[in-house]
């Protein structure tokens, strides 16, 4: 069962085809990986899925609903959320506020109710704050909740971005180079974290990363992208032994 289905997905920037005719399914309930050399179009695919870029051609189906070219906030409302390669936190706000903002979709009181501070608003505010607290607890950020996000160490900023994504109760989590700039120790911690939260929040995960030990270690299905086209798809073993992949990464044996 695939939770996300890309059909013939194409994105052109002027004359450059950044992503061309990619077909790929993200299976439900496992961790999948998306790898490829620099400039292969991995992040572009994320931007297409989340609606940041408009699709030139093709279709994206999420749980069999067409989400092609929808506004980003609608797509995230359906249950897809992501992190960014260059971290995009609300830098000047505290850790707690970052998560609390993302919790907003768990409440539905309207503007008038908040102006008058009616009971429904107060009750839901309490629930939102409780949820933010719980998430920080799970992600091990509780003791730093009043720090400004920008002052967090790099690894924890990544962690906070994941916490913020989880606040939306997503079904599909897209992680764009979560281990970028991390040392092996931090990468190992991140691997445990991702494998822990996947069953806990009942997620399907799609990861872009260059750390092969991370991707090969936790992904059950991998797609390789090169120059915007799909090169290979399969289990980590298949990918490691695929001559085309080896060629793309290391060149032809001379």
């Amino acid at each position: 069962m695939n939770i996300l289905e890309m059909k013939n997905l194409t994105k052109c920037f002027g004359g450059l085809t950044a992503v061309g005719n990619v077909d790929f399914g993200v299976p439900k309930g496992i961790i999948s990986g998306l790898i490829g050399p620099n400039g292969a179009g991995k992040t572009t695919i994320f931007n297409l899925i989340t609606g940041v870029y408009k699709v030139t051609d093709g279709k994206i189906l999420f749980k069999d609903n067409d989400i092609t070219n929808k506004e980003p906030y609608l797509i995230s409302g359906q249950g897809i959320t992501r992190t960014f390669q260059n971290i995009r936190l609300f830098k000047k706000l505290t850790v707690y506020e970052n998560v609390l903002i993302a919790c907003h979709s768990n409440g539905n009181y309207n503007l008038l109710e908040s102006v008058l501070r009616l009971p429904r608003c107060r009750k839901q505010e309490k629930q939102l704050k409780q949820k933010a607290d719980d998430l920080l607890e799970i992600m091990g950020l509780k003791d730093r909740k009043d720090l400004i996000a920008n002052n967090l160490p790099y690894g924890l900023q990544r962690r906070l971005e994941i916490a913020r994504a989880l606040a939306l109760n997503p079904e599909l989590l897209l992680l764009d180079e979560p281990a970028a700039g991390m040392n092996p120790d931090e990468t190992a911690q991140l691997m445990t974290l991702i494998s822990d939260i996947r069953p806990k929040f009942d997620l399907s995960v799609l990861i872009i990363d260059h750390h092969m030990d991370l991707v090969m270690g936790i992904c059950e299905k991998i797609m390789v992208l090169n120059f915007g086209c799909k090169l290979a798809e399969g289990t980590p073993q298949d990918i490691q032994n695929n001559p085309k992949v080896i060629e793309a990464y290391l060149g032809v044996e001379g």
Partner: protein, 300 residues
């Protein structure tokens, strides 16, 4: 310096504060600069004056009518311009403010450029005070809610806000409409305080004055806006004995504050009972430095 004079200045400050509060939501909390808020004040002022003078409405409904008209007008402008980024939106509002003034200059129904005398004097110290207190409570309640937090998120990082499911356009529009409604009420108060309206009162200078007060008081702080409106409205009056030099001193004091405290008087801080308590305990424990985590931490 009799009581009547001081009351008059405070009322002016209160009227300014009303539109500054609205602008504070737009600029300080949603991150959009507007140089056309005098236009919304003008719409509110002329509408409410029309209601009281020509249709004999009581004061408060007339004020609300002015607010509503300003908000509807802002919705129209917002639909067209809110997709513009940063500076472009700012210039669009500037054009809008000037357009409103020039239209009013030429509408003879409202007295045109000569102005409109004979508006009843309904504004008094008590109703300015009450309206301002209500306005502050409403604003504080919005900012403490999820809607206010979403606006702050839009100010901080638009793309990330969209990804966490915030309809950026909608929250910009709500923020603009509320701030225009506040400006509309301020215009109505001003019309019934001056008992006279003239398009010249709502020129670009007025819009810039409002923006200066918001920045001077501190972006993202309601108490900063209150303080800014009180200080910057009364300053020219206090300096009246310096005659022509007073505006120079006014300008200088704004520059000095901006150099020494770029975030404004209260930037990011809020004067609430709990923050006063924190300040007090810190003073007692004699720790000079602010703890790092507190910066901007009281905006929610």
């Amino acid at each position: 310096m009799d009581l009547y004079y001081i009351q008059g200045i405070l009322m002016l400050a209160g009227i300014n504060l009303m539109s500054v509060l609205g602008l504070s939501l737009l600029t300080g909390f949603t991150g959009m600069f507007s140089f056309g808020h005098a236009g919304f004040m003008a719409i509110g002022g002329y509408t409410s004056a029309m209601m009281t003078v020509n249709y004999g409405w009581p004061f408060i409904p007339a004020l609300l009518m002015g607010a509503l008209t300003a908000a509807l007008m802002s919705a129209l402008i917002g639909k067209l311009t809110l997709n513009l980024k940063g500076d472009y939106f700012c210039i669009a509002t500037l054009g809008f403010g000037e357009a409103i003034r020039l239209v009013l200059d030429n509408v003879q129904y409202f007295g045109g450029a000569r102005g409109w005398p004979g508006i009843p004097n309904y504004t008094n110290f008590t109703n300015v005070l009450i309206i301002n207190i209500i306005a502050i409570i409403i604003l504080a309640n919005i900012i403490r809610s999820r809607h206010g937090r979403n606006m702050i998120a839009v100010r901080e990082e638009e793309l990330a806000s969209q990804i966490v499911g915030i309809n950026v356009f909608k929250y910009k529009l709500i923020s603009l409409m509320i701030s225009a409604a506040y400006a509309g009420v301020a215009g109505g108060l001003m019309a019934h305080y001056m008992t006279f309206l003239q398009p010249k009162m709502f020129s670009l200078v007025k819009s810039t004055e409002l923006t200066i007060i918001v920045i001077f008081g501190g972006l993202g702080s309601i108490s900063g806006s209150v303080l800014g409106a009180l200080v910057l409205t009364s300053l020219p009056e206090i300096l009246r004995s310096f005659s022509n030099w007073r505006l120079v001193i006014y300008g200088l004091s704004v520059i000095i504050i901006m150099i020494s405290r770029p975030e404004g008087l209260m930037g990011g801080y809020e004067l609430t009972p709990s923050s006063m308590k924190k300040l007090f305990t810190r003073m007692r424990s004699k720790k000079g430095d602010l703890p790092k985590g507190m910066e901007g931490g009281n905006t929610l």
